[in-house]
């Protein structure tokens, strides 16, 4: 009976993933996955609920309620932090289980190594995720990479240390501590805006930790579900790296964005006013909006929706061009736009829209910077050289809405801003858009 439940659960997990492939079926995927999870958890009790005391049930209920609460409260702009936090929880849970299993003296040797692996990965994920979340919240600055290099250099002797003293139990806690410290240091040296890659990577690790926990407690469903999470994390990681033309190793090495790079312009940008933008837009036939991290910071998505409606009412075609690493997590911009009911059919990926810029009347760059920086195409010395970018500089007219001339995450100047066909609207993304919309009413 239990076996049949588990079989059904595995099948459901896989079909859930399949349904996830299209926006129109994805909400059913979530239902499938929830059902699969419920069956899997239920089967773990093996129909005997009396083995569990009230502490157990209270923990489940309280943390379940807390989960609901968090999920209802969190704002869409905070998704990167939430995902990071949950990665930490997942890794921590698997690591803790591995620790408890290791404390038993009865563990067979083969399981022993898997358990050590699970504990190390789990704890690393836990502490690394916490640091990643703090960094995303801006609570932690970049740490110098030398600290990490020193730690790495001393790691082999540190690992061999327990061989010298005798107590086996103590060495367990020692390894746990080492993993926690490794997680902290490794993530601490990585630049703040590389956090999305780190988070996807830690996501993958949390899956691998769960998978290895499955090997210890001999649960096929845990292995399958863990493998799915592991695959998902690693795919997103590699996708982001490809979108930035960097390697995963390069990202994890850290130190990116810490060099101070020349950030001066030899020309003044042309600045413009909300009224002028409104006039220009009302003469356009086609508009592409390129959102970036600034849109999330300013919480400008409702204003975007309003502007879109205004333009569409005037029969102006509006499309959204979304770079794979715009914002602070993959798909970040899409979710913010979907939140305000913008049709996902109007959101285009880099490959799909890049050829259209040259035939577009007006492009609005909204709090985006690095993802539209033409240096990526031209300047071999630039840290973003080779990164595929949105070719907005080819459009007839570009309007950039940001607060200042200050650089984006990569810390480099953006010649787009002083291009002949570009005008700057210096404003907070939300306020700027609202002023444009107001001007429309006057036009």
């Amino acid at each position: 009976m239990i076996e049949i439940i588990l079989l059904v659960s595995s099948v459901l997990f896989i079909f859930a993933l399949k349904l996830f492939g299209r926006p129109s079926t994805a909400h059913r995927a979530n239902t499938f996955a929830m059902l699969a999870m419920a069956l899997a958890v239920f089967s773990a009790f093996n129909f005997d609920f009396s083995n569990y005391d009230s502490a157990f049930y209270i923990t489940i209920i309280v943390s379940g309620l807390l989960g609901v609460l968090i999920s209802k409260r969190v704002q869409m702009t905070q998704m990167p932090e939430l995902v990071g936090l949950f990665n930490g929880f997942g890794g921590g849970a698997s690591g803790a289980i591995a620790y408890v299993e290791l404390s038993k003296s009865t563990l067979p040797l083969s399981d022993y190594f898997v358990a050590i692996f699970s504990m190390v990965i789990g704890m690393f994920t836990f502490s690394g995720s916490i640091v990643a979340v703090l960094k995303l919240r801006g609570k932690l600055n970049n740490v110098n990479t030398t600290i990490a290099n020193i730690f790495s250099a001393f790691l082999p002797p540190l690992i061999l240390l327990p061989a010298i003293w005798e107590s086996e139990i103590l060495s367990l806690e020692y390894f746990m501590l080492l993993s926690l410290i490794a997680g902290i240091i490794r993530v601490a040296v990585i630049g703040g805006a590389d956090m999305p890659v780190v988070i996807a990577f830690l996501n993958s690790l949390s899956g691998i930790a769960a998978m290895s926990a499955g090997f210890i407690v001999n649960s096929i469903i845990l292995i399958i579900a863990g493998a799915l999470v592991g695959a998902s994390g690693i795919i997103l990681t590699l996708l982001m790296c490809a979108a930035m033309n960097r390697t995963l190793l390069d990202v994890l090495k850290g130190g990116f964005g810490s060099k101070s790079i020349n950030n001066e312009y030899d020309k003044d940008p042309i600045s413009t006013s909300p009224e002028d933008v409104a006039i220009q837009l009302s003469y356009a036939e086609s508009v592409i909006i390129v959102p970036g991290y600034g849109m999330a910071v300013a919480q400008a998505q409702s204003a975007v929706k309003e502007l879109t409606n205004t333009l569409k009412d005037k029969n102006i075609e509006v499309k959204f061009a979304i770079h794979p690493v715009a914002g602070r997590m993959p798909g970040h911009m899409n979710v913010l736009l979907a939140e305000v009911d913008i049709d996902y059919e109007d959101m285009y990926t880099l490959e799909d829209i890049n050829s259209e810029f040259s035939s577009t009347d007006v492009v609005i760059v909204l709090g985006a910077n690095d993802v539209v920086n033409p240096l990526a195409r031209t300047d071999e010395d630039s840290p973003i050289y080779g990164m595929p970018i949105l070719d907005v500089d080819l459009a007839k007219q570009v309007i950039v809405i940001k607060r200042s001339m200050s650089p984006g995450y990569a810390g480099i100047s953006n010649p787009l801003f002083i291009n002949d066909n570009a005008k700057m609207l210096f404003a907070d993304a939300k306020e700027g858009l609202e002023k444009i919309i107001k001007s429309f009413e006057l036009v």
């Binding site: 896989i14 993933l17 996830f20 492939g21 299209r22 926006p23 129109s24 994805a26 995927a29 996955a33 929830m34 999870m37 899997a40 958890v41 773990a44 083995n51 569990y52 943390s63 379940g64 989960g67 609901v68 998704m79 995902v83 997942g90 849970a93 698997s94 803790a96 408890v100 404390s103 038993k104 083969s110 996807a200 996501n203 899956g207 930790a209 769960a210 926990a213 090997f215 210890i216 407690v217 001999n218 649960s219 469903i221 845990l222 292995i223 399958i224 493998a227 799915l228 999470v229 695959a231 998902s232 795919i235 997103l236 993959p330 798909g331 899409n334 979710v335 979907a338 009911d341 996902y344």
Partner: protein
């Protein structure tokens, strides 16, 4: 389900392969809910916690550690699915 080690390896391979194939096909638009969804699924480690809980014995320390694992995993499952559902609702509206 009990299985020999190699059979388990085979299943691991098959599942990872399926995961890789299916996830490669998920469009960029859904990458954020994909991440929160895998958060939820990684909470599946709750099963391991449930399985070992009755065996921890007298040690209060170990019991608290397992309870922490249970709290973490439950948070992941409930919170993860709930927030993913919230996001996917937004995409559903567009139909």
């Amino acid at each position: 389900m009990e299985a020999t080690f190699l059979l388990t390896l085979l299943i691991t391979f098959l599942a990872s392969f399926i995961g890789y194939e299916l996830i490669s096909k998920i469009p960029q638009t859904l990458h954020t809910p994909l991440m929160s969804g895998s958060n939820a699924i990684s909470g599946v480690t709750l099963i391991a916690a449930i399985l070992i809980y009755p065996e921890v014995g007298e040690s209060q320390v170990l019991k608290i550690i397992v309870l922490t694992a249970i709290a973490f995993a439950t948070l992941n499952i409930v919170g993860g699915f709930s927030v993913t559902g919230r996001i996917l609702e937004m995409f559903k509206k567009n139909d």
